[in-house]
């Protein structure tokens, strides 16, 4: 997979951190709605090249970031990317289950948006995703100094 031309992508882990923090959005500019034109899903790791070491690394990585995930955003984003199997809540039980964590790794890291749109749920401002790169560069008139 890595040997063919790797189309650049946006992952759900990244989507989880994205916001529209303009004044108009008033702190509510997330989750950005995902409209998919082209998605790419990597092999979920059970195929060639994956070892027990790789799997352990994946589980360790997911454990490390569990604390920073916004779960509702992830569930919505995943659903908009065609993955509707995430549980509505992250329980302690699930967080301790290595099988679940590996599946979560797959959702966070192996499902990529290649082309599409991210839309602010409040203002409707659209951020295009082209060749896997999200374009957040703002127009001159949008560059007001607002912080959230």
């Amino acid at each position: 997979h890595y040997l063919s031309h790797p189309v650049p992508t946006m992952r759900l882990l990244t989507h989880n951190t994205l916001r529209n923090n303009s004044a108009e959005a008033d702190g509510k500019g997330f989750p950005l709605k995902i409209t998919c034109t082209e998605i790419r899903v990597d092999n979920d790791g059970t195929g060639e090249g994956s070892t027990a070491d790789d799997e352990a690394r994946e589980v360790a990585f997911v454990k490390g970031i569990l604390g920073i995930l916004d779960w509702p955003t992830l569930v919505q984003g995943a659903s908009q990317m065609g993955l509707k199997t995430l549980p509505p809540m992250l329980t302690e039980e699930l967080a301790a289950d290595p099988q679940f964590l590996r599946a979560l790794y797959h959702v966070l890291m192996n499902v990529h948006l290649v082309r599409g749109m991210l839309t602010c749920p409040v203002t409707g401002r659209e951020f295009p995703v082209t060749n896997g790169i999200v374009n957040f560069v703002l127009e001159e008139d949008e560059c007001e100094n607002v912080r959230y």
Binding site: Y2, L3, H5, P6, P8, T9, M10, R11, L13, T14, N16, T17, L18, R19, N20, N21, S22, F30, R57, A60, F61, G64, I65, G67, I68, D70, M109, H112, E126, P128, N131, G132, I133, V134, N135, F136, V137, L138, E139, E140, D141, C143, V146, R147, Y148
Partner: protein
């Protein structure tokens, strides 16, 4: 282990000795991570001259198990066998390497000086008493021994008392000086293995380069300072061609990069972009986002902090001019809705002082507690580390490492660590405290390009060289115009008829 007194060594020495009985896997792990270690040597003896080093090795070679009691009570000379090595006798350390089945060689490493082959062999002969029975093999022997002859070095790593002058003439008073120290031992692991990896990672082999791609060694050192591991989420807000991010990827980290310039992110074509570099080394794809770091807070979640490491080479106006969003004009026109997606938003110059202030502020927000920011900044000789580096109340300065690039210009690698949570209500105060000397400090980083040009203008011969360059450019322009006219065949070049 062995003891060697450090009081004879100068403060600047590239050689460190340690009382340690490390096993090989640990050493291999250290070497795989540390890019600046040339080799790790099992020390058999040391002295202030090669002769005394050889004596010291000879004493070491003579000890065996039944002499262990003597060894423990022995504290004369500059060598003693350490009880740290437990029950390992010197015989057991040496014997395996003297059998005739093992090939060997002795590398002579003379710091800061060049010696002829004959001279090096004379040095080797002082250790002939070791009598290795196996064959000498120059390429990849089973055992490589090393004799290091150390002299006093200046802070740039050159000899304070060079052996030869520029014309390769021997400087006899320097030649007469004794060395600072000599060491002999067996190489346990070499940065050489890493160096062959470095060849792989070297810029020459990269598929995609830009004018500011950082050399592999430097960016790998940065990942060590930033403590990037395979558990890290690493971020480069000025990712450019991705050379630093690639080094984070080589440490196993998950990587995110942003840049305002889509041309750099997109690359030269299908086979040449930031991703092709990651693919070349079979690494998972990094996330790339096109955004302006001065507006980081507009696009990313403020809590909780995301990144374990932020590693970057900010744009500072020498080769890659920094840009930020926003118009050069005072009055800004809105872009009509139907043009928004195609519109290439105008950017305006981004002062280096703001680049740095924004970088520190983004780091203070986005780093996890204890996470590290490592960046490089150029400076000239007027830069005072104690007062001119940018600061942030949430970040503590951990290290600075200065690398001279020329007599006037150098590059500083700065490491900061997050020590306090970011408090949004204190943002104004944070930004006001970035430059404790005010605009003056920022200017030292900000106008380096102009200052380098000014400095070049002061040098002799500048006018002549500048005139030559102007002439060359004019000639090239003329040649291009001529070629174009001939191609068009309009015949409107001046007629001589």
């Amino acid at each position: 282990g062995t003891k060697f007194r450090h009081d004879v060594l100068p403060s600047v020495s590239p050689i460190a000795t340690s009382q340690r009985h490390s096993n090989l896997p640990d050493i291999a792990a250290i070497l795989s991570r540390c890019v600046l270690i040339r080799s790790v040597v099992e020390l058999w003896g040391a002295g202030t001259t090669i002769e005394s080093c050889a004596d010291s090795v000879q004493k070491f070679a003579q000890y065996n198990n039944k002499d262990k009691d003597i060894a423990d009570n022995d504290n004369n000379g500059d060598f003693s066998s350490s009880s740290n090595s437990g029950s390992r006798s010197s015989a057991s350390i040496l014997a395996p390497h003297r059998t005739n089945s093992r090939s060997w060689k002795i590398t002579v490493h003379t710091l800061g000086s060049k010696y002829s082959r004959e001279e090096q062999n004379d040095m080797r002969h002082q250790f002939a008493f070791l009598r290795f029975d196996g064959p000498v093999k120059m390429e990849c022997p089973d055992d490589e021994f090393i004799l290091i002859r150390e002299v006093a070095l200046d802070d740039k790593g050159g000899p304070i008392y060079p052996r030869h002058s520029h014309g390769r003439v021997l400087i006899s008073e320097n030649e007469a000086r004794p060395p600072v120290a000599a060491y002999f031992g067996r190489i346990l692991g070499s940065g050489r293995n890493w160096r062959s990896d470095l060849e792989r990672y070297s810029l020459k082999k990269r598929l995609y380069l830009g004018p500011t791609s950082m050399d592999a060694e430097l960016s790998l050192v940065m990942t060590n300072l930033a403590r990037v591991t395979s558990k890290s989420l690493a971020f480069d807000p000025f990712v450019g061609t991705g050379s630093i991010l690639l080094s984070c990827g080589l440490r196993g980290a998950r990587c995110v990069g942003t840049d305002i310039d889509i041309r750099v992110l997109r690359g030269q074509g299908k086979e040449e972009d930031v991703f092709s570099n990651f693919r070349q080394y079979h690494l998972p794809r990094p996330e790339l986002i096109r955004s302006d770091n001065s507006l980081y807070h507009r696009h990313y979640r403020p809590q909780p902090p995301l990144y374990d490491a932020i590693v970057t080479d900010p744009p500072y106006g020498i080769r890659a001019g920094a840009r930020k969003s926003g118009s050069k004009r005072d009055e800004v026109r809105a872009v009509a809705e139907e043009h928004r997606h195609d519109h290439i938003a105008q950017t305006r110059p981004y002062a280096v002082s703001d680049v740095m202030a924004d970088l520190l502020d983004v780091s203070a927000r986005a780093l996890t507690m204890g996470g590290r920011l490592v960046y490089v900044i150029p400076s000239m000789t007027d830069f005072d580390e104690d007062t001119d580096l940018p600061r942030h109340d949430c970040l503590k300065l951990v290290y600075t490492c200065y690398q001279p690039l020329s007599a006037e210009l150098g590059r500083r690698m700065v490491t900061m660590e997050k020590v306090a949570d970011y408090d949004e209500t204190k943002r104004e105060a944070y930004m006001a405290n970035v430059w404790i000397n005010g605009p003056e400090s920022a200017e030292k980083c900000a106008n380096i390009r102009d200052r380098i040009i000014e400095a070049a203008k002061q040098k002799p011969g500048y006018e002549e060289k500048a005139a030559l360059r102007r002439e060359k450019r004019r000639a090239t322009r003329e040649a291009k115009k001529k070629a174009k006219r001939e191609l068009q065949g309009t015949g409107d070049s001046i007629s001589h008829a």
